[in-house]
């Protein structure tokens, strides 16, 4: 590992940004080619209108080659910058940790459906609250494990809460589970179901970005609708009742996992992609320019809206300050504050 100053002193074949914030120093590095490994639309991790969200979105307009790990991101980036062909290198799975069994043992009737869900509550794009509501609405017997960032009392429908699991512990949990429930609204390449697949668990998922990389409805998982808590609960109930279907999906999941690359093969593909970046000409400037200019328009519109809001709020404040009742209220509040201060001093003595 080198410091930025040390890296600046070296002539690189390819300089690669790996997160939108790292693009701020990308062009400081003397490199024949500049590229950006983009694993999700990074602006989606920030609240709408925040400075970080606006800046992260604008980095997709940089004149660099992009490498990504999901086909939908590749297609979107090519729409943003027509003619700038995006390279695609799938994320590998650590198959020594998520070590697949040779076969899936059927889960026969008589035992509850073993469901696992993971993630923190309160983040709409992760859909954990929806998943908790869905398991609470199940009618068939189930044993539900919630892998949460924090230990706590199990909410309704959940049998146990686990926290702080290592990858190896997560692999063991998937191995003893029948189905992963995942109701995300935004993902990159959507890794967790693939890890579950490696351990012989199927998935019940929303049609979230990235799911179509490897999830096929009725083949290795079930795809449920958006905001359909009851439909999701019925899908889980179906798996609890129809053990032949459950086994078919788990078998399909394991077969999908077998065809997925491990880290070694994924690294080979990434090396190939980097060599293509080095060997091919840099991208044309015009598509990047067009994308950046279109972002300027969005950012300008956002900033104008905020400026107008601020202006309106300041005018309202001025008008309120002019009103007699408000003046009186402000004077009373000042007196009250002073009286409380006096009381506190007396009590301390």
């Amino acid at each position: 590992m080198l410091s930025l100053d040390e890296a600046r002193a070296i002539e690189w074949d390819v300089a690669l940004a790996t997160w939108w914030a790292t693009t701020s120093v990308l062009f400081d590095l003397p490199a024949r080619r500049h590229a950006y490994f983009i694993q999700l639309l990074e602006d989606s991790t920030y609240a709408a209108g925040t400075p970080e969200q606006l800046a992260a979105a604008m980095t997709t307009g940089l004149p660099v080659r992009f490498i990504t790990e999901a086909r939908w991101i590749a297609e979107l980036l090519e729409d943003y910058q027509p003619g700038n062909r995006v390279l695609y290198a799938r994320n590998g799975i650590p198959k020594d940790v998520f070590a697949s069994p040779p076969h899936v043992a059927p889960a026969l009737p008589g035992e509850p459906l073993r469901v696992v869900l993971e993630g923190a509550r309160g983040y709409v794009h992760k859909g954990v609250d929806d998943a908790l509501a869905a398991v609470a609405a199940m009618r068939e017997p189930a044993h539900v494990t919630w892998v949460s960032p924090r230990q706590g009392e199990p909410p309704a429908g959940v049998d146990r809460v686990l926290a702080g699991l290592s990858h190896a512990e997560m692999a063991r949990l998937f191995a003893e589970s029948h189905v992963l429930l995942k109701l995300s609204r935004a993902e990159g390449m959507y890794g967790p179901p693939l890890e579950a697949f490696h351990m012989g668990a199927t998935v019940v998922t929303t049609p979230v970005t990235g799911h179509d990389e490897y999830v096929a409805h009725g083949v290795n998982g079930l795809v449920v609708g958006w905001d359909d808590i009851h439909g999701t609960a019925r899908a889980l109930d179906l798996l609890a009742r129809d053990r032949r279907l459950l086994h078919r999906l788990r078998h399909g999941a394991l077969e999908t996992a077998k065809a997925w690359p491990d880290w070694r093969h994924a690294s080979q593909r990434m090396a190939l992609a980097l060599r293509r970046v080095a060997a091919e000409p840099p991208p044309a400037l015009a598509p990047a320019g067009a994308r950046l200019v279109s972002d300027f328009a969005s950012v300008t519109a956002d900033a104008q809206e905020r400026a107008w809001r601020l202006e309106i709020e300041e005018r309202l404040k001025e008008e309120l300050a002019e009103q007699k009742a408000i003046k009186l209220a402000l004077a009373l509040r000042a007196r009250l504050t002073a009286a409380r201060g006096l009381r506190d001093r007396v009590l301390r003595r």
């Binding site: 086909r71 590749a74 065809a259 080979q268 190939l272 060599r275 293509r276």
Partner: protein
């Protein structure tokens, strides 16, 4: 049987290129080359490991004058495709390269984005067919033109790039199945599997 038809069809697909090719290099390793209509002019040097940079360097020396390079089912057999893919891409201005893989659509998409952008992508879709013929007749009933769903899963994907890649055109092939041979092969496979399972059990006991 269907594997043999599939393999031959891939060579039939490239045969228009091979007919006029100055030097054809076939990297193998699958069968079916007889459908090409000619023998390859170059093959990989004996013992060259094409998963290594050294092996590919030896290949590059031996195939320097190739104008058409075929590599059917080869990538799937390599532990590391990077050296070979790098070399094949480097040849795209002087040779037409046609390769095939039985990999997943994701794998094909990775590959498609690594090779030159003017790539021709083709899918090899298996077709099931049957015919009813009269006992004494030497019949060749018309098979018609089966509709192929654009979303139908492919058994193989072919990618072609280089000067003559655009000359490739769709092909299909059909011939009567030799059920006796297929059944014999299936019995042999079952017997071999049963023997090997018993042998493993014996060794593990």
């Amino acid at each position: 049987m269907s594997d043999a038809v599939d393999a031959e069809l891939r060579y039939a697909y490239v045969s228009p290129l091979l007919a006029g090719a100055a030097v054809w290099a076939d990297l193998g390793p699958g069968g079916g080359a007889s459908a090409a209509g000619r023998a390859p002019d170059r093959v990989p040097p004996a013992g060259a490991d094409l998963a290594t940079a050294a092996g590919v360097a030896a290949l590059a020396d031996a195939l320097a004058d190739a104008t058409v390079i075929t590599a059917f089912d080869l990538l799937d057999a390599l532990d590391d495709i990077a050296p070979l893919v790098d070399w094949l891409v480097s040849r795209h201005t002087s040779a037409t390269v046609v390769l095939s893989t039985a990999g997943s659509p994701n794998q094909v998409e990775e590959l498609r984005r690594l090779v030159p952008s003017e790539v021709v992508v083709a899918r090899q879709v298996p077709i099931r067919a049957a015919a009813i013929v009269h006992a004494a007749a030497d019949a060749a009933p018309p098979l018609g033109a089966p509709a192929i769903d654009p979303a139908a899963p492919a058994a193989h994907h072919l990618l072609a790039f280089g000067p003559d890649a655009s000359r490739l055109a769709p092909v299909s092939a059909a011939r009567a199945a030799d059920l006796s041979a297929e059944q014999a092969a299936a019995r042999r496979r079952d017997a071999d599997l049963a023997y090997l399972e018993a042998r493993v059990a014996q060794l593990e006991a």
